[in-house]
Amino acid sequence: MVEILRHGWLLARKDLLVEFRSRTAILSAVVFTVLVLLVFNFGRDPTAVAAVDLAPSILWVTFTFAAVLALNRAFQLELENQALDGLLLAPVSRASIYLGKLVANLIFVAVVEGVGLPLFALFFNVAILPVLGPLLVVIALATVGFVAVGTLFSAMTARTRFAELLLPVLLLPFMLPPLIWAVFATAALLAGRPLSEATAWLRFLAAFDLVFVTLAFLLFPATVNE
């Protein structure tokens, strides 16, 4: 168990180091997020729809697209020079490989969301500070769900044709239930309704995370074993 965690962390660190050295993917993802926010600003009629009514949708559509974009990268990295084969030959368990990819992806997406959230508040004049704590919990729970399924699927799609297109097609149906709950919870929080109104959605999000993280650990070996 400790071994799995240690190897997982080593793999995650490797991925993040590769990312940190080049910074291409993370910068592109951040810029993409800012652009989606801009698109949203011009995609609505400001005289007809108040920004706050649209705020939860803007936030979650932006985060969904940013996550899909970020997840494509995880296993594509391993295709060059058959790095994946090297990884599979290394004396680490399959669970560690999945864990490493999951953690690296989570950190990657968290950084993108960390930039996106303040900009969202700034651009759309949404007061997120009073509900920042619960909002971060919602974002964290939803992101774990997105990324757990996405990491599993990107291990499969990376080795197919049209990987960039296939991943969103497979992943978006799985993102919809957490997206629905996250939007409801965010709307309740931003409207200043009592916290108890959001807890039901949080429970659903937590249940989704639990089921799909477990499932991904169980199924991941089937996607890489020869």
């Binding site: 699927f153 497979l170 799909f212 499932l215």
Partner: protein
């Protein structure tokens, strides 16, 4: 190929009987009091919907067993069942709006069951797209099984998220606790139609199964 031929015969017979069911539904089954003639689509819509969901459940089960047993027959069956499920799903998603327009006054609404059916449909289109995008047969079978299992696990969550929407959809009248609440003639028509759809499912799956078998043989030859 005997399987292919048998599948063709069953499908052809099913289609002929389907026409027969519709003669019975239109001419010899009473017209529903509030919905009028629009209700006749029920004999097409509901059996197709039941077989859409059943086909998807069978894909999930076949996927689970495939990962344990590694039997290529299970993978071939899962593929055939997903394809048949998509056909029935298309029937459900086309007949639904045709009924919805005169009865609800709208072609589409984000109602619980409509959303669920659409999402399932899209998920299994994705399943077939994934199969099409992988060239190696062994890899394709494993990838498809992983996606099939994830899909089956997603269904309860979709149910959870959509039951919170208020529903316009008629409540179940056949598959529910207690006896079916419709007149005997309608029930007989429905059951005949359900039998015909079962034949069509079996016929479709047999044909597609035989086809993937032939495809594999052609590749090895």
């Amino acid at each position: 190929m005997n399987l292919l031929k048998a599948g063709r015969w069953i499908t052809a017979l099913g289609l002929v009987l389907l026409a027969g069911v519709y003669v019975r539904a239109l001419a010899f089954t009473p017209i529903e009091r509030t919905q009028g003639v629009a209700q006749k689509i029920f004999y097409l819509h509901v059996p197709a919907a039941i077989w859409t969901e059943t086909a998807m459940i069978l894909v999930g089960l076949a996927s689970v067993f495939f990962l344990f047993l590694k039997d290529p027959r299970l993978d071939r069956f899962a593929e055939a069942s997903a394809e048949a499920g998509i056909v029935f799903g298309s029937i459900v998603l086309t007949t639904g709006p045709i009924w919805g327009k005169p009865i609800w006054g709208t072609w589409w609404t984000w109602d619980a069951r409509l959303t669920l059916t659409l999402l399932l449909f899209l998920m299994y289109v994705g399943y077939l797209l994934l199969r099409g995008a992988v060239t190696d047969a062994g890899l394709r079978a494993r990838y498809a099984a992983v996606l099939g299992i994830c899909g089956a696990c997603l269904v309860p969550f979709v149910h959870l998220s959509v039951i919170m929407f208020r529903t316009l959809h008629p409540q179940p009248i056949i598959l529910k606790p207690g006896p079916p609440s419709l007149p005997a003639e309608m029930l007989v028509t429905f059951l005949l139609s359900f039998g015909v759809f079962t034949m069509l499912y079996v016929g479709f799956v047999m044909q597609r199964y035989a086809l993937s078998l032939l495809r594999e043989e052609a590749r090895h030859a």
